[in-house]
């Protein structure tokens, strides 16, 4: 190993971006091809600095757009190497064309997506529009709620993604500015421990293996395309979740930090519960604790793995709940939110006949305050007390002007 090690304290004060950059350094990523975009710039800045300072034996490739960045990553992954990059919002949207190539070619790439609103109007703050944009692309999607998660989930992402049974690219999402630029205490792993968890990169069908030449990115028409997509879907549905669970279990043994595919909080005897993603989970947990003091049996379900969607785990977590709120942080633009749809789908054929309401909040970085959530929990409790849904199916939280509610 020709690179320097870095001495880290047990707890470092890092923001989500720097935590992700440190995770890329400790995983010894071979190639990072990136085009910077707010708010994910510091991730690749950090990696580039570590590379130039001799902490990583890797290559930082400067490209002319996010489309080229992902294309270069695909090329590097096909050549046979550990590859990662980072992007946000408009850059992510420009990457979408190549995201499907990456997953279809079954290349292990880790993409740190720092969630940010999609224009127009142009906005640099956090919402989940870009995360929702990529949800059909065939990538595994993990969601971090805080810098600590952003650091840890990168290791899990490399490990799951590069597994020869899985070989699917993986995104790690964190909330723009709220996670990415908010410094918190992050419990670190030593370089050796972290690299030991991720393991050496094991190539598979790499193009630099001159003994076994392969053609990557072939064309299939109506005679083969369906089979390839079916295979990819089958692997996502059947193979990925056990691997993620195993990685989480191993990570707990290594660090003592427990991650779950679905993060349940106070759900054992909950009547009302909120299902959400990102930093809102932590806010909702605090409010749920306060609600318990007021006698409302409140719980929170945070989803850690967005794709493949954990239908069974969600159905298990929501068993016995009477009223559920699905909080979507992305403009549904003419339908109900994605989480509302997925949760309705998870519960539809089960015995859980809960009242489900969809809420849209926080677009373009608008804050979701504790007051909002208190009112929301009380609304859910009112539904239970009335024995029927008294609120519209879809409501907007925190928007100025007359109340917005539909259906």
């Amino acid at each position: 190993m020709a690179f320097d090690k870095m001495e880290l304290r047990d707890i470092e004060v890092w923001d989500g971006n720097f935590a992700a950059a440190q995770a890329l350094r400790q995983s010894q990523v071979d190639v990072v091809a990136a085009y910077p975009i707010t708010p994910s710039t510091p991730i690749v800045e950090g990696y580039a600095k570590f590379t130039s300072d001799g902490y990583v034996e890797g290559e930082f490739v400067m490209v002319e757009s996010e489309h080229a960045a992902m294309s270069a990553c695909i090329g590097a992954a096909a050549a046979g190497g550990r590859v990662a990059t980072a992007t946000s919002s408009q850059g992510f949207a420009l990457m979408v064309e190549t995201l499907y190539q990456a997953s279809g070619m079954r290349l292990p790439i880790v993409l740190n997506v720092v969630n940010r609103a999609l224009a127009a109007p142009l906005n640099v703050n956090g919402d989940h529009s870009d995360m929702y944009l990529g949800r059909d692309s065939g990538w595994i999607q993990l969601d971090a709620y805080c810098p600590q998660d952003a650091y840890d989930l990168n290791f899990v992402a490399f490990r799951v993604s590069e597994d020869h049974d899985v070989r699917l690219p993986c995104m790690v999402h964190q909330d723009g500015f709220m996670t990415s630029h908010t410094a918190q205490g992050v419990h670190t792993l030593t370089d050796d421990k972290a690299y030991g968890f991720v393991g050496d990169f094991k190539p598979m069908n790499d193009m630099l293996d001159f003994e076994h030449p392969v053609t990557h990115g072939v064309q299939t028409e109506e005679d083969w395309h369906f089979e390839h997509k079916a295979r990819q879907h089958n692997d996502l549905m059947t193979k990925v979740m056990p691997k993620i669970q195993a990685a989480f279990d191993d990570f707990e043994k290594l660090s003592g930090r427990k991650y779950n595919i679905v993060e349940k909080y106070d759900m054992d005897d909950a009547d009302v519960c909120v299902v959400c993603l990102g930093t809102s989970v932590e806010t909702a947990r605090e409010v749920a604790t306060e609600m318990r003091a007021e006698g409302i049996k409140a719980g929170v379900v945070g989803i850690r793995v967005i794709r493949p969607f954990p239908f069974l785990e969600i159905a298990e977590a929501l068993k016995g709940v009477k009223a559920i709120a699905a909080l979507d942080r992305s403009s549904p633009n003419g339908t109900v939110g994605m989480l509302f749809n997925e949760i309705a789908g998870s519960l539809f054929n089960t015995d859980t006949k809960a009242m489900l309401s969809g809420y849209v909040y926080g677009l373009g970085g608008r804050d979701l305050t504790k007051a909002h959530l208190v009112a929301l929990f009380k609304e859910l409790q009112a539904n239970i007390d009335a024995g029927k849904v008294t609120t519209p199916l879809q409501q907007f939280i925190g928007v100025r002007g007359p109340k917005l509610a539909y259906l």
């Binding site: 079954r106 069908n205 053609t215 990115g217 295979r231 990819q232």
Partner: protein
């Protein structure tokens, strides 16, 4: 090739060009290589062609221009002597004719249905250089 089900092929939309070992593949002639079923070597694209190159060896100087320029490696050359065109993979682009330096050209494009012997018998005469 038998049609396989969705769980019966290698993942990743990738194909292998050769079956087995590839030692000294560059020194092996195409017809002697162990191409796999998936290799395009075994696929004919002759039906893409509308016009075809006809080779007249009487004028050829074996300069290898057409061989190096052909985008489909369809010019067959043995021991630095041009011996003809691989009609399974030629798509009739005409680049070989364009780069041929002889006068008259040793390769000319003709309609797909033209008879080669007739065309060679009626090969154009040398272009006189303009004074």
């Amino acid at each position: 090739m038998a049609k396989k089900g969705w769980d019966e092929f290698e993942i990743g939309a990738m194909l292998r060009t050769f079956d087995g070992k590839i030692d000294d593949i560059a020194g092996t002639r195409q017809e002697d290589r162990e191409y796999s079923q998936n290799s395009s070597y075994t696929a004919s694209v002759a039906d893409w062609r509308l016009i075809k190159p006809v080779f007249n060896k009487d004028y050829c100087i074996d300069c290898q221009f057409c061989w190096i320029y052909c985008p489909d490696v369809s010019i067959i050359s043995r021991d630095k002597k041009l011996i003809g065109v691989d009609m399974d993979h030629c798509k009739g682009c005409g680049i070989c004719v364009e780069v041929c330096p002889t006068n008259p050209k040793s390769l000319l494009m003709f309609p797909e249905q033209a008879d080669e012997e007739t065309e060679i018998a009626n090969w154009p005469k040398k272009d006189e250089e303009e004074a």
